[in-house]
Amino acid sequence: MLSERVVNEINQIQKRYLDARACLLPALYVVQREHGWISPDALEAVGDLLNVPKATVKGVSTFYSMFRHRPIGRHVIQLCTNVACMIMGAERLVDILRSRYGIEPNSTTDDGRFSLVIMECIGACGTAPAMLVDSDFYDNLTEENVIEILERYK
């Protein structure tokens, strides 16, 4: 299930801790980066690798909002709508994405191009509103530039 490269990387990271389980979150990150999401099989494989029961791995991974347990679009838009972003117009941006790409919060476009996730604060309140597209960060978003930015992601 996990490629040799992934297993090697996880084994490498494991050396940073005196306890294998401490490597669980980093390991899940590696898997997610590789596959885009964390499938039930991947959960099991990570559990086997770190000697942690599958149910535990699932319990842990579902606790954190950045791990995905369903296949996801090619690009993930993580848009903050918390207070600072809200007063700078973030909710309007959600409307714009809805009308432009036909996408609802926490869903994926039919063509699989974008998934939209509503974020709690991403630490860009001073330059709000802000979003992450995959792991690229954008702030000072406006009704005009948001589409312009997203059009770079095919």
Binding site: L28, L50, F63, Y64, E120, I122, G126
Partner: protein, 423 residues
């Protein structure tokens, strides 16, 4: 005031170790390595430094508890999980001055005789992860990290550990659980992490800004340091300002600077010269203040006297056009989303408050809703396992106490509509 934490960050690329050293970096560590670990702890105690994460606990005291515990190994964890809405004060250090944090951690690690350090970084800062990892690698290559640092019998290993999107992991026991590969839920104290923390070993958890102050204390000495800021809470403080001000951003100012000075002198006043309606002084979980309170000095001691808290120093400013009932609703959605689910008053109560606020804001509010909100909040406050639930309750109470008419307007608007329909 001369800046220290943000010194030169706009002038130079301090993520490069050579640049950082050119401006005097890594000199405090050389000084510290000539001192005894216990002397460093005493120096930090004398400086009066209080933790910058929100609680304001004296740093030197926390250190001495962990140092006194004979169990080994000891751990130093940097809490870089700033997830409190409004807070982005640590970001400039993480992204633009990483070596300052690393230097602070090496000195702190030496003082505590800790052999391992982890930077628990929030998952939402992917850029900072790359920058920190690069900087750590440089520090290893130059012999500032690893075994036998600078030829001394000092070992300190440092790693970045990425969180995965859970606000509660900013709470230190939850952070440690998360670092151990568990669900990040708070644990009962005692035992305190200084005695039984990461992997049950003595562990100090300090905020990014706290650790970034350490080189400065060593450099100028506790006495000079303690003269900065306010007497009970010395030192510089990073304030992150957002909302309706002309120049939002992160400002390094002496602890105790007033809100008025922050908003009107440093941030240029209210955007479009509108009127100030309200300020949240220390991040979304701190009680909201009315404009007549902005002369309060921003520190751990004075803020409570004005009915709020310093928190993380995240100032959120609202002008006259902002609908505060909607802000309160958005805040509650946040707390509901981030409740870890461990205890019932928080898990169920916050959802209920969110539902009532939603009803009010969508125009379906009923007479008695405000009283109900207060009632529910009282059944949460003081009855939850950790401060998250309390925070949510206090936020609702402070919004209603200070801005009740904002909620009433939503409700009565709808009433008048109903009456019209009926007539």
């Amino acid at each position: 005031m001369e800046r220290f934490l943000l010194k030169n960050i706009d002038r130079s690329d301090l993520t490069d170790m050579d640049e950082y050293i050119k401006f005097g970096g890594y000199s405090a560590i050389l000084k510290a390595l000539e001192m005894k670990p216990s002397d460093i702890i005493d120096e930090v105690k004398r400086s009066g430094l209080r933790g910058r994460g929100g609680a304001g606990f004296p740093t030197g005291m926390k250190w001495s508890f962990a140092a006194a515990d004979p169990k080994k190994p000891k751990y130093l964890i940097c809490n870089a999980d700033e997830g409190e809405p409004g807070t982005f004060k640590d970001k400039p250090i993480l992204e633009k001055n990483p070596h300052l944090l690393i230097e602070g951690m090496i000195i702190s690690g030496y003082a505590l005789q800790a052999e391992y350090g982890y930077i628990y970084l929030r998952g939402e800062y992917p850029k900072a992860k790359d920058i920190l990892e690069k900087a750590i690698k440089q520090a290893y290559n130059r012999g500032y990290l690893g075994d036998n640092i600078h030829g001394k019998e000092v070992n300190f290993h440092l790693y970045v550990h990425q969180g995965a999107g859970a606000y509660i992991c900013g709470e230190e026991t939850a952070l440690i659980e998360s670092l151990e590969g568990k669900r990040g839920q708070p644990k009962i104290k005692p035992p305190f992490p200084v005695n039984e923390g990461f992997l049950s070993k003595p562990t100090v958890v300090n905020n990014v800004e706290t650790l970034a102050n350490i080189p400065y204390i060593i450099e100028i000495g506790a006495e000079a340091y303690s003269k900065i800021g306010s007497p009970e809470c010395p030192g510089p403080k990073l304030f992150s300002v957002s909302g309706n001000v002309k120049n939002p951003g992160v400002y390094e100012l002496p602890m105790g600077t007033t809100l008025r000075e922050i908003i009107y002198t440093h941030c240029g006043g209210i955007r479009d010269d509108k009127k100030l309606k309200a300020v949240i002084p220390g991040g979304i979980s701190t009680p909201i203040l009315t404009p007549d309170k902005i002369d309060c000095p921003m520190d751990f001691v004075n803020m409570p006297k004005y009915g709020s808290m310093l928190g993380s120093g995240a100032v959120m400013v609202f002008d006259e056009t902002v609908d505060l009932a909607k802000i309160c609703l958005r805040a509650m959605k946040f707390f509901e989303h981030e409740s870890c689910g461990k205890c019932t008053p928080c898990r169920e109560g916050i959802g209920w408050m969110r539902a009532i606020l939603e009803r009010i804001c969508s125009g379906s509010g009923m007479a008695g809703d405000i009283e109900l909100l207060i009632e529910v909040s009282k059944n949460i406050a003081g009855k939850t396992f950790c401060p998250l639930g309390d925070g949510a309750a206090v936020v609702v109470q402070s919004f209603i106490n200070n801005f009740r008419q904002e909620f009433e307007q939503h409700i009565s608007k709808e009433f008048s509509k109903e009456i019209k329909v009926a007539a």
